[in-house]
Each structure stands twice: as C-alpha cells, then as structure tokens.
C-alpha cells in the first residue's frame, strides 16, 4: 500500500465551475522526494492543499475520488488528525507567520506548543531545527522584521520542527538567494533520506534534477508527464507546453540542431552539460580563443 494514494481525484472550489484537479491518480512511497512542476494555474497549490487535508476540509468545495495519506482517508478524518502527520509550507510565507509571537524562536515553537509537547523538548527541537535550516542567528528577531527569503526559511523551519511524516512544500525557495536555495534543497533531501516523504512544488529544475526522486508535471489540473527527473525534464513536450526548463537543456537542444551537441541525451544539470559539450570542444587549450 502506497504511503500516498490518490485515486481519480477531481476537485472544484466553491463557486467555481471548472475543476482545478481532474482525475488525478498518484501513488507515492514513504521516503520519496517528489517534485511537482507546471505552469501557473496548473493546480499545483491545490494538489498541495489536497495532500495536506485543506482540500476539502478547509476550502470546502466538491471532491470526488479517494485521497489516502499515511493510512488516513480524507473523507473519514478531520483536519486536526491530518496536521499531526502532514506539514504544509505555504507559497507565501507572510500568510503563514502566526502573528501571535514576538520572536522567530517562539514562532517555530508555536506548533509544538499547540500539540502539548513538553517544554524542554520544545526547546531542544526548536534549537535543532534552527540549526538545520541555518537561521540560528535569527532566533531573537521578530518574524516581521525579516526579509522575504528569511521569512521563508522561518516558515519552512516551523513545519520541519513538527517532524511530519509527509512534508508538503509550495515553492519553498521562491524568495531565497541562489546558494540558500541549494542549501534548502540539500536539507530537504536529507529529510527524505531520513524517511520523511516530501512533495515539493518548484520551478527550479536544475536543483530538482539533482535532488528529487521523481517529477510530476501538472497542466490544466491533470498529470501531463511523470517519471524520473531526467526523463521528464528533458522531454520535448515539456518545452513546447510552457513549462520552465533548464538553460542547459534548452541550449543543448538548440546546439543539437546545429550539430554542436553530440549526445542523444540532453543535459539538465551543470555536470551533464559539461560532460556533453566537452565532446564538441577540442583539447582545453584551444577553447574560446578564436574571437
């Protein structure tokens, strides 16, 4: 039995005529790191809300098909059962900060306090989580005095500290600096290796290719492509349908047309691109000299 099992899931928000998710079938194993990509309006956030129980328990609307996560069935359980197993980091961190806490430390402790975790344990877990995401130096700042990217790290940390079995992340690095983004991907990979299941909406395909186990490409509420990151991210159909692709892939695809890319397989990551283009170039001394 898969850890996440969605069968023929179709969902409509209240007052909106067209379904945002259409006949989604999806199985994810425990400890898998799955990235979700897709154009704006593809249903990515709604899929996150569904996995986190917000659809339908919070947003209401009409849902059909079955949603099972961590042995819970959506139609037979309540949101407060779900939150013990599933953590969701919102797309906009401003929407997630509680507004009830004065410091980052307290903000991150908020969830644990709410489920009645003993005081000493809260302290050590918050400390540990702050270290993990590299924001120990922000502990005493007000969550509202932080920059967008820092706030995003706080939002992520406040979910990680709960140690959910399923971590759902909706563009968790959208406001982060580039190297910070890579670090966060590394942290999330580590969580997945520790057995946490991760579903992450992201546009940054270079890092998806390096860190995720599987990619799901959504379009118009349906699964458009699904598979190993490399396969999905280099597919011609992706580029032709408004999905973001890596510059390495698009450049190699163009180079191939001009006979300047010699391999069958297109690259997604820097290493793959270096390896492939090296075949086109003469020995290192001659490169880039002719002007």
């Amino acid at each position: 039995m898969a850890f996440i099992n969605l069968q023929n899931v179709t969902y409509k928000y209240p007052l909106i005529k067209t379904p945002v998710l259409q006949d989604i079938n999806l199985q994810i194993d425990e400890g898998e790191f799955v990235a979700v990509i897709g154009p704006n309006g593809a249903g990515k956030s709604t899929l996150c809300y569904t996995l986190a129980g917000f659809v339908p328990h919070f947003f209401k609307g009409e849902i059909s098909g079955s949603v099972e996560v961590a042995g819970m069935e959506s139609s037979k359980s309540t949101l407060d059962e779900w939150i013990l197993n599933v953590g969701l980091a919102f797309q906009n961190p401003f929407n997630q900060i509680s507004g009830a806490k004065y410091t980052v430390f307290e903000e991150i402790a908020f969830g644990l306090e709410n489920i009645g975790t003993p005081r000493e344990e809260i302290k050590s877990r918050v400390q540990e989580a702050l270290k993990l995401t590299g924001i120990l130096d922000l502990a005493d700042r007000s969550p509202y005095s932080l920059s967008g990217g820092q706030q995003q790290r706080v939002a992520l940390t406040s979910i990680l500290v709960m140690q959910p079995r399923l971590l759902v992340l909706d563009e968790p690095t959208s406001q982060m600096d580039p190297i910070g983004t890579r670090e966060v991907f590394g942290v999330i990979r580590k969580m997945a290796e520790g057995g946490m299941t991760v579903v992450m909406v992201e546009h940054k395909v270079e890092w998806i290719a390096q860190f995720a186990d599987r990619v799901i490409a959504l379009k118009d509420g349906s699964i458009f492509l699904e598979g190993k990151p490399h396969e999905v991210l280099t597919s011609d159909a992706l580029a032709e349908n408004g999905f973001g692709i890596s510059r390495y892939t698009s450049t190699a695809r163009q180079a191939k047309k001009q006979g300047l890319w010699k391999k069958d397989r297109l690259p997604v990551t820097l290493d793959e691109a270096v390896e492939g283009f090296a075949l086109t170039l003469p020995s290192p001394e001659g490169r880039g000299q002719s002007r």
């Binding site: 990217g149 580039p178 450049t251 001009q258 170039l281 490169r287």
Partner: protein
C-alpha cells in the same frame, strides 16, 4: 532621471543596521539589477528611492529632489515601486480600478489616464480580467496586477522587487517584455532579483549587495562572472556562465547566443 546615493546608512528602530554606507549613481534610462543574499539590504535600499524609508545618514536624490524633503505621495510621480508581495499593495475591488488609481491620483488628464491604463493592461495581458477582483486571481496574476498598476503611472523610474518570484516561464517572458518596453521608452528600471539567469538576460548593469554594502557594481558580464566574490553574498553566476567557465572559455558568456557562438567557433 538620475538617482544619486551618497554614503547612505540606514538603521531600523530595532537597531538592525541594514545599510552601511552605500554610494551609487544610476543614470537616466539605465536597466539595473540588484542581487544579493537574503537580508543584504536590497529592499531597504530601494525603499529609500520613493521615500518609504528615510536615510539615517547620507543622502538620496531623485533628479533634483532630495528624498527627505518630499513626501511619498510626491515622490510617487517620479518613482513607481512594485512590491515584492502584491498583497501589500493591492486594495481595489477590481483590476481596472486598481490600475486606474495611480495615474488618476497623479492628476493626469482623463484621456491620458485611459491611454496609460489601456497600455499597462495590454502589456501585462490583463485585458480579459479588468472586472475581476484581484484577490480572486491567483498570486501570480496578482503580481501582474501590481506591475500593471505601477507602469500605468508612467514614472521615469520603475522599481520591481522580485518580479519573477513564483512565475512560470510564460509569465517570466512577459515580464522581460515589459522591461524591454520600458527601456525603449527611456525609463530607468531597477529590479531586485534572485533569478540570476533572468538577470543575465535582461539587464546591462548589475549591483551585488552584501551585508548592507555594495560588493560589486558593473556591466552584467563582468559582475556575474565573479564566482568567488558572488558566493560571499550567496549568489551563483548564471547557468550558462558557469557552464562556460567549467568548459574553460576565456570569455564570460551570459546567454544562449553568446554561449553557442563560442562553441561554434571552437567546436571540432
């Protein structure tokens, strides 16, 4: 319209020293990207240009105006600022009202207001959403509404704070197109971004900030090639720049065209 910043320092009431002596001059019609680590002071810096923040010491002038002597409402005629988070900016019940508010408020004649609104809506491809409440749109479209409502003000200086955040490839291309249009019109565009590939492809000048100071400032190709220095402020060079470097290119390439030219010349 020139922006002149002299030894700008800013300390938040909490004691946080966000800017520690920034001096820059931005010429009329320049397209400038500001990059740097989260918390480097990027947003704090640009919020001085339209008077949302006032210098703790040092000075900022917009054309012949010293920002400390003019109200935000007045500065709005010279500097348009698109917030990082559209939810901090939008307040109207429908898109058309939102986009009309700025130019109307600046006192332009009615025909000019209509013309500016029309142009802003078509540039951002919001024409079919004019009657929609911005909060019924997805966050990504709300960002386009925020952008439209500022470009409709026709200010000589436009600031975009992380315009591509959360946008798909199609919308990023749309934003790049808007920036190109503004360049054509001779406007100064200052953009904060973490999307370094977008930065390399759309801006001539790049300023890297680190811990409240200018770390690098110069032509994009020069700045974005400085891998070790950029790492100090948590920025990677663009993908193709990194690739060129790894392949041993002698020159710094910024985009696909430049990259393929080098490959074509030296390929076997």
């Amino acid at each position: 319209m020139k922006i002149e910043i002299k030894d700008l320092r800013f300390t938040y009431p909490t004691g946080l020293e966000a800017l520690r002596g920034v001096s820059l001059s931005l010429e009329t019609g320049e397209q400038v990207a500001i990059v740097g680590q989260n918390g480097a002071g990027k947003t704090t810096l640009v919020r001085h240009f339209n008077g949302l923040l006032k210098p703790t010491s040092g000075s900022v002038s917009i054309g012949d105006w010293d920002v400390t002597k003019y109200a935000v409402a007045k500065l709005a005629s010279r500097v348009g600022y698109v917030f990082q988070n559209p939810d901090e900016q939008l307040f109207s019940r429908d898109v058309i009202t939102e986009v009309t508010f700025g130019p109307h408020n600046l006192g332009y004649p009615r025909e000019k207001v209509d013309e500016l609104v029309e142009r802003a809506l078509s540039l951002t491809e919001l024409n079919d959403k004019t009657e929609t409440n911005p909060y019924d749109l997805s966050p990504t479209w709300r960002k386009m509404v925020a952008l439209a409502s500022v470009i409709a003000m026709d200010t000589p200086i436009v600031i975009l704070d992380e315009p591509t955040t959360g946008q798909d490839a199609v919308n990023v291309a749309r934003i790049a197109h808007v920036i190109a249009e503004l360049r054509q019109e001779g406007k100064t565009v200052i953009t904060i971004t973490h999307d370094i590939d977008f930065c390399a492809e759309n801006f001539e000048r790049v300023i890297a900030l680190a811990q409240g100071k200018v770390l690098l400032d110069g032509p994009a190709a020069e700045v974005l090639g400085q891998e070790e220095i950029l790492a100090q402020t948590y920025v990677d060079p663009p993908q193709l720049t990194r690739l060129g470097k790894r392949l041993g290119f002698k020159e710094i390439v910024r985009n696909q065209e430049e990259f393929l030219n080098v490959i074509a010349r030296s390929g076997r």
